[in-house]
């Protein structure tokens, strides 16, 4: 994914998820950019699966 603030490209797993301490809920799902720490919203699961389906079908072998 691309950071919405600084444009840095990183994989979702690399982002810091440091909000587990937040009292608001059981921790938010936001993904923080490893370079600037801007909070990026994760892709909702539904959209992710749809995208994956497209990619599978679309890649030329």
């Amino acid at each position: 994914m691309r950071c919405g603030f600084c444009g840095y490209e990183f994989r979702e797993e690399e982002g810091n998820q440091g909000c587990s301490s937040c009292p608001m809920s059981s921790g938010c799902k936001m993904i923080k950019c490893p370079r600037c720490n801007y909070e990026n919203p994760p892709e909702p699961k539904m959209i992710k699966t749809v995208k994956k389906l497209f990619r599978r079908g679309g890649t030329p072998k």
């Binding site: 690399e14 809920s25 938010c28 909702p44």
Partner: protein, 663 residues
Amino acid sequence: MSIFKKKASCHETVSVAASGARKVALVGNPNVGKSVLFNALTGAYVTVSNYPGTSVEVARGNAVIDGVQYEVIDTPGMYSILPITEEERVAREILLNERPHLVIHVLDARNLERMLPMTLQLIEAELPLVLVVNIMDEAARLGLEIDIPELSRRLGIPVIGAATAKKVGLSEIRAAIASVHPVTAPVPRYAPELEEDLAEITELLRGEYILSRKAMALLLLQGDTEVAELVAKLEGDRYGTLEACVREKRFKRRDSFHLDLSLERKAIVQKVLDGTFRVPAVRPVTWSERLSRLTLRPITGVPLLIVVLYYGLYKFVGEFGAGTLVDLLEGKVFEEWFNPWITGVVNNLIPWEIIRELFVGEYGVITLGMRYAVGIILPIVATFFLFFSMLEDSGYFPRLALLVDRIFKKVGLTGRAVIPMVLGFGCDTMATMVTRTLETVRERVIATLLLALAIPCSAQLGVILALLSKAPGALAVWLGCLLLIFLLVGLLAARVLPGETPMFYMELPPMRLPQWSNVLTKTVSRMQWYFMEILPLFIVASVLLWLGKITHFFEKMVDAMTPVMGALGLPKETAVSFIFGFFRRDYGAAGLYDLQTKGILNPRQLTVAAVTLTLFIPCVAQFLIMKKERGWKVSLSIGLFVSTFAFGSGWVLNQVLLATGIL
């Protein structure tokens, strides 16, 4: 010499290592065609496994060139040999641990300027290097001309122009792998002062390193902890003196080392490219570049910002979201249809007045909590997040950060603080957590204070915009007050708190038209998050308010606050909004919205209430986070200061408005 002492984890690599195959490592940014090259070189026999102790996958394959077997390693994308991400760390580990026989740096011809600084780093590290300038075909289409032989001469390393996706340049790359002999490229030289510092450090380095001493010294200066550990291990007793030396140099350059170094490398790259890299004479300046320039200059940037805010926040969020949509949802759907219906249903089902009150009374979970959450807050945050995600996707935020850097410096912050401030307009609680990323404690405290005081969160902002846009002039007064207070308090805080303001510099990603799929994904995701967060809270708040009502505690609180409201020139009913506001900022604003709809407030009272409520105490969640991040002492002082300051400002504003009669 124990080059292959590292045990490989799978059979194939073991046999490769045992046979003593030479290793070739492909390095470079993501998306430069490394994997295509890797596949072209290795063919079918590829193993992909996690790098030991990490979740990063590394692909290895064999290539036979001129009858010699090579192991080709596709390293994870890296931007610099000073690692930030885990992938970069692994990429560097591979360079360090596997001692590749040859390193191939693949870069994108279209972004030569941006990617060459890493080539300089690799040269500086004295690694056996070949540069592959990939995607030449696309670059040619853009009219870019690159003089490959001259580039090679200037850098002192073999350079190959390629288009791996079209199989152009592959044979040259194979030849380069086969004919590799140690190249001694001239190591780039920096400013004399930095060179002196580096020389002092390199002199203290005695151990055997894979990267050159100069590269090690630079990494030490940049505060690379892994390199520091490695050096500590290899230098043993000598490390103490070395560390002291590095610490001294680091302190001397604390303000702007990363920036200086990046500028120095840029200058070297510029010199290398001068004459070897030609952009077309009449290079069309794209609209995005033109716009980017406009956003950065204060003379054009500030008006542009005002235009963006006017159309985005005022027109779209304020008038459309908080006006049209709220009227429809809250006014029509809830007030006219849903609430009477559900009240009827509950009244029929539940015989006890008190329980009925809990669900459908004045502060009922459904008639108040749900109505506020779905009817007022939802349309407002939806439009706000849509606008926010569009700005985000266009690449406007980093430009905003640079634009406001100058003003922020005056209040003891840097442009970096724009990140939490911008996030604050979404949710102050989230933003307070992000202040953790600011460089100095001083900056963090100032940012936390300003967030608590002068930055309204999205829902509050939307409701207030909607409220005030109905009374001419009120919005201007509200905005003026907040700006004034933001600057004033920031200036004072910067005076009171000791310390200096650090440097700020950031690379700008290109501006582009927002892509609808991205914008929608982000908006949906943010709304989902927001709604999950607020709905339970609204319900809890409703229950608490209901409890307050049946125990008459609420009345007493309103009574207690009446003199304060009186001092502000507000009717006593406004106290309710303030009590709501304590639960959540947006809840309070929604309460104010309710009062205005009932026609209780005149424009002056509306403005005073809006200003006081915006400044007034952060919501419970924000306060808890403040306590967590800054500790009891700081957060209590901030809470106390903010509350008194809010009412004080409200009082002053009321007096001024009464005296001048503007509203």
